[in-house]
Symmetry: C2
Subunit: 720 residues, 2 copies
């Protein structure tokens, strides 16, 4: 590449090598998992049913997305060519978009299938020992982690090597491809998983009174599938997106720095490569710690190990290559931020700490006080999350105090780069959740022996905690990614110089609209879950009326429930996707770039507060219930327990659907804004045809809101 030193050229090829290494490691891990004992034939047949359901969902998802992707590929081409980019760049952006979408889909697809394969083997291993089961579960999760790392790094580096200084224009397409897929996988998976879960529970546990994961319940396989598509595929796509998007904005901002220097762009890539190596070491070490009986603690120590390796390496790189301590300070702060988020989320969602215990205690006076304390805990947790992010940005301000705003924004992007260095560890911890959950479900469905069941229950509990904790990182990374995208937007539109004046009424209006959208999105996703759950309830009730099913003599038609969930989730996605993609276009072309800037700021602010609130309140309610089930305040079956079940049921769609849906929503809107920014600046007036299109877009948004608004948690009457 032009202007690159020998070290830089070698470094870039080295980064590519590390990306391949991550993929190779994933392949090795997969081989290792597949060679494990996969249990009895009953267990295998359950696992196969789950696998079939999960793949049916993803296939239908991808099929549904194909036309949209085709349209958007043209849109991406236009976004570049209307901004007067050369033909090669416009085409490349469209191609990169396809590549980003495919990579994101691949992470989800492969990771999810390995999770399904892993879970049945965890169940089999649980008959031998806790340590074996933990190791297999965690390593199966690590496959998804390594895929995220490897493909994310591969795409970004390849594009940079080919396009050099023009890379950001192409990378925007790559980022958007990943982001779009993530939006659909995260939101669709979230609706799927909670519709199946809530639907199965409402009929099974509440109406008929059979236990969770009972094989007579037709929705039980759909419920297990849901954990995979929501918590594994959806979450992996979400973090993959943040991983890409932080690279995109670090490059855009790095190229805008003055004096220009290639090192501002090569450094983030090298940092990422180091992070991948640290992650490989850290995740490998999990099964080596002596704290075998505490799964969460082992993962936590490994995380610290990865962090230590990375920090030392970043320091060396900054000193010997960049000759600038500030890039080290910013990336190290990112690592600190990730650790801070892990610890802080645990404080609010782990039963060892006061918030969860307060919720448990308040369950003694009923469901209402349980809910109120959960709300108070959730709101408070959101405040601390905001302050941690404030500290990170303020740190960047201090580091780059003398160098102007673009440097500060670049610093924020570097914080994001550092923060996501250990994506491998995070995704492993997260994917461990649905794997342990599925293993436990397989145990229940096949009636395994009590000793193994106890081990799996413990792993499931640990998985719940790690899942809750990685939600914190996912949100924080989304916010930091969005803030750096926002910085790139301001840079691209030239608002950097003219100022994005919030006292300008149009900007203020944009902020109000943007701030309102996360609430609208949450309202609609909650309703979507309700409507989809209603369909499941009807189906399960229908099957219960078939003679022999309730008696356990006839196997229910699991596939039909899976199909209904799949279709329902797809249908709900149409409206939500339209809203997310078209809103920034509408605001941008009607109220122009100032209002669009305010809009983005509003979305980031409110989106973050709401997402953290929902994730942590949901996690805390969940664990308060578990805490009571462990024998506190009367234990299982007591009145406080019933109250805590209400809290848990309220929290479920918040923490697994509405809250996580906000992460990709925040990023999609920022990325769409960034894509249309040069078009906005280049075309101060629009041809009349464009206004027609805008009008159509407005109608589409209204129609999709109207459609999504029809859902509710008002389930169908039981006619039987």
């Amino acid at each position: 590449m032009e202007g690159a030193t020998a070290f830089e050229s070698a470094g870039l090829w080295g980064v590519l090598g590390v990306a391949m290494l991550a993929l190779l490691y994933a392949f090795q891990l997969a081989r290792g998992i597949l060679s494990q004992d996969k249990g009895t034939s009953t267990m295998q047949s359950v696992a196969q049913a789950i696998g079939r359901g999960a793949n049916a969902y993803l296939r239908s998802q991808f099929r549904g997305l194909a036309p949209l992707i085709a349209v958007l590929t043209v849109g991406l081409y236009l976004s570049a060519s209307l901004a007067a980019q050369p033909l090669s760049i416009s085409l490349a952006r469209a191609g990169a978009f396809l590549m980003g979408a495919c990579f994101s889909a691949a992470v989800g697809y492969l990771g999810m299938n390995m999770a399904v394969q892993g879970s049945v083997r965890v169940a089999a291993a649980a008959r031998r020992s806790f340590g074996d089961a933990l190791r297999i579960g965690y390593r199966a999760g690590t496959i998804t982690g390594m895929l995220t790392d490897g493909l994310g790094l591969l795409g970004g580096t390849l594009i940079f090597i080919v396009f050099g200084r023009a890379a950001p224009e192409v990378l925007l397409g790559f980022g958007f491809g990943g982001t779009l897929l993530a939006l659909f996988m995260r939101v669709g998976g979230g609706i799927y998983t909670k519709a199946a879960d809530v639907g199965a529970d409402l009929v099974g546990k509440i109406e008929v009174g059979i236990p969770e994961d009972d094989p007579r319940n037709a929705a039980v396989i759909a419920d297990l599938v849901g954990d995979n598509v929501g918590d594994c595929a959806g979450m992996a796509a979400d973090i993959f997106e943040s991983y890409e998007v932080t690279i995109v904005s670090a490059m855009i901002l790095g190229l805008a720095l003055n004096p220009p220097d290639l090192k501002w762009i090569v450094f983030p890539l090298l940092v990422r490569a180091i992070g991948v190596i640290s992650s490989i070491i850290g995740t490998y070490a999990v099964s080596l710690w002596p704290t075998r009986e505490d799964a969460f603690r082992a993962m936590d120590i490994s995380y610290d190990l990865s962090s230590a390796i990375s920090t030392v390496s970043f320091c060396l790189l900054a000193h010997f290559y960049v000759h600038d301590w500030r890039v080290f300070a910013a990336t190290a702060m990112g690592i600190l931020l990730a650790i801070a988020f892990n610890k802080y989320t645990a404080r609010f969602t782990h039963p060892a700490f006061r918030p969860v215990r307060e919720i448990a205690q308040s369950s003694r006076t009923g469901a209402a006080t349980n809910i109120l304390t959960g709300l108070a805990v959730g709101y408070e947790s959101s405040v601390w999350a905001a302050l941690i992010i404030v500290l990170a940005i303020f740190g960047s301000v201090l580091i780059y105090a003398q160098s102007g705003v673009t440097f500060v924004l670049y610093g924020v992007a570097l914080v994001g780069i550092g923060m996501l260095s250990h994506t491998g560890n995070n995704v492993s911890m997260d994917a461990f959740g649905p794997i342990a959950d599925n293993a436990n479900g397989i145990g229940e469905l096949t009636g395994m022996e009590p000793a193994a069941r106890r081990i799996m229950a413990e792993l499931d509990a640990a998985g719940n905690t790690t899942k809750a904790i990685t939600k914190g990182i996912a949100i924080a990374s989304a916010v930091i990614a969005a803030v750096s995208l926002f910085g790139s937007f301001v840079e691209t539109t030239g608002l950097q110089r003219s100022g994005l004046d919030i006292a300008n009424p149009l900007v203020f209006i944009g902020m109000l609209i943007g701030g309102a959208l996360p609430l609208l999105f949450s309202s609609l996703t909650i309703r979507s879950v309700g409507r989809a759950a209603g369909l499941i309830v009807e189906e399960v009730r229908r099957q219960f009326r078939i003679p022999g099913i309730l008696e356990g003599r006839v196997q229910p038609d699991y596939e039909r429930a899976v199909l209904i969930c799949t279709r329902a989730a797809q249908r709900e996605l149409v409206g939500l996707g339209t809203l997310a993609v078209l809103s920034p276009v509408l605001v941008g072309f009607t109220l122009r770039e100032g209002a669009l800037g305010g809009f983005l700021a509003g979305i980031i602010l409110v989106g973050q507060l709401l997402a953290v609130f929902m994730a942590n309140a949901g996690g805390a309610w969940d664990n308060a219930k578990k805490y009571i089930e462990d024998g506190q305040h009367g234990g299982k079956g007591s009145e406080p327990h019933k109250a805590s079940v209400v809290g848990d049921t309220v929290g479920d769609p918040l923490k697994d659907t509405a809250g996580p849906a906000l992460n990709p929503m925040i990023k999609v809107m920022n990325l769409v804004a960034l894509l249309i920014a040069p078009v906005l600046v280049a075309h101060r007036t629009l041809p009349w045809g464009a206004y027609l299109l805008l009008g159509a877009a407005g109608l589409a948004v209204l129609a999709s809101v109207w459609y999504s608004k029809q859902g509710a948690f008002a389930l169908p009457d039981n006619e039987s």
Copy 2:
């Protein structure tokens, strides 16, 4: 006054005359109410107990506030003198602060006492006819409305006549006095009322199983007192504050317009005077409509009548005096905004519409689905509220498109002026709520005859609706007032010219901190209610253990419960008040005016969204319960009804404490920022003593958050 035309001078005296007229009308109404039949001696003794409790609360509140007011009077003096104002202005600002506080206190004190007097007479009248009871209840509420109008207009006009162009500097003090009192009355009243309500219900209804308002419950009087101090005194102080604050910002912005003209300042005062006259006519007409049996509809028609009179008059005034259609357009839009908010709030909280019915329907599958649907409804309602406010600001942008930002901000202030023209009607409708509620309680406590009880139950239901609806206006007015204060802040700091650049990381940080504060405030107020309710629970349990009380032979010690509530509410206020007053000072002096501007924008955005969500979700849950109690989905005592009670109990502290607390919080923070703005600009560096003070302030804020965080909805064990 210098430069005033003869019409203007006469007009100003006319405004003073109208202010006196409003007070006179209030006096006349009070005489009319007091002359009514006050029922049996048992009814009177209950009313006296309520009155004693309410006054004990206010007295203790005022006593507790006295030292703070003394300190702040000095602070107000310093805020002017440090900004190099002449001695006369500095002293006048301090004096005006005292006057504002006294006026606000007077509105609360007098209005509340008239409400107590009114409610026993409503109960007595209910034995005769529905029409009489409605008329007395509404007129008793109108007294508070007229006091708000009269004192608000009197203070603003007097200060303007005396100080002329320097009036805004003095008015800031007047506004802050009202605002501070409102903060304490609203938050303290909110904690008091819900602590008593929740505490009484948890022991009475749930533990012991006696009905609401049962005379054996020691907290029953405290509960009735709570309605008065929260819904009447608190709400009146809140609206009084918005009423003052919109005048303050209209004057500040009016004086900054170019070319300068006295009419920009005289016009808002004349508009307010017209509004008072329309309100008098409208409120008087309520008992004249033939829709006697539908209390809410009568008030609604009267509101429309007032609006029609005002709109025509504003038009004439704009045409013949200001010679500018734009001021008419802006104020008329304010009236439209108020009507829109009334109708829109009804859509989300009235059982005649879909949202409430959906919540009721979702109660059939239990408390969790009831809560989830309520959350979805509340979030959605917040989105529409934001869009209505966006339309209002956008309207001002269109009206003043050619005239620059200061004119647009002035336009927003005029929207606020127009919107609050019919404060008389709004406060009447609102105060009607606690009056009807108390009448119903007196009926229950004294065992009145069924026919009268039915009438009072109907009035109580109507009062619930009007109370819920005026919450919408209260929030909208707080937001519009805050936006115009924000405009004044930007004008005062000179950020108007340099731009308040949200892409500047410090401004962005300010926005994140500001956005997080409403969540912190809500978390803490919810906890405060929980802790105070715990004390009530302990006291009621203690009294139930006294022989004879549960059997109804011994009268419980009501006063003790009142005293406990009073003390608890006072104690909770310390932390919350410290947080509200000191946060902007801390942000301003450490991160400077840019960050403070972002901070204000964040508070307005998130504060508004959260306040609307809480008010409407709470109102909708409440009415969903009532809808079921009216015989839907199984009616009272059914499983859906139990689920809806959980929703109602969750909604109560949200809609009556945490949500309403945000209105004065938003305004207090904006006003404090405006007060310190000139000091910030004048003193770019601070003496070291000031940093010591700031450090102390920071510690005070941390300590108050820590203190308030200790509360929870985890009630004490029942040792008996």
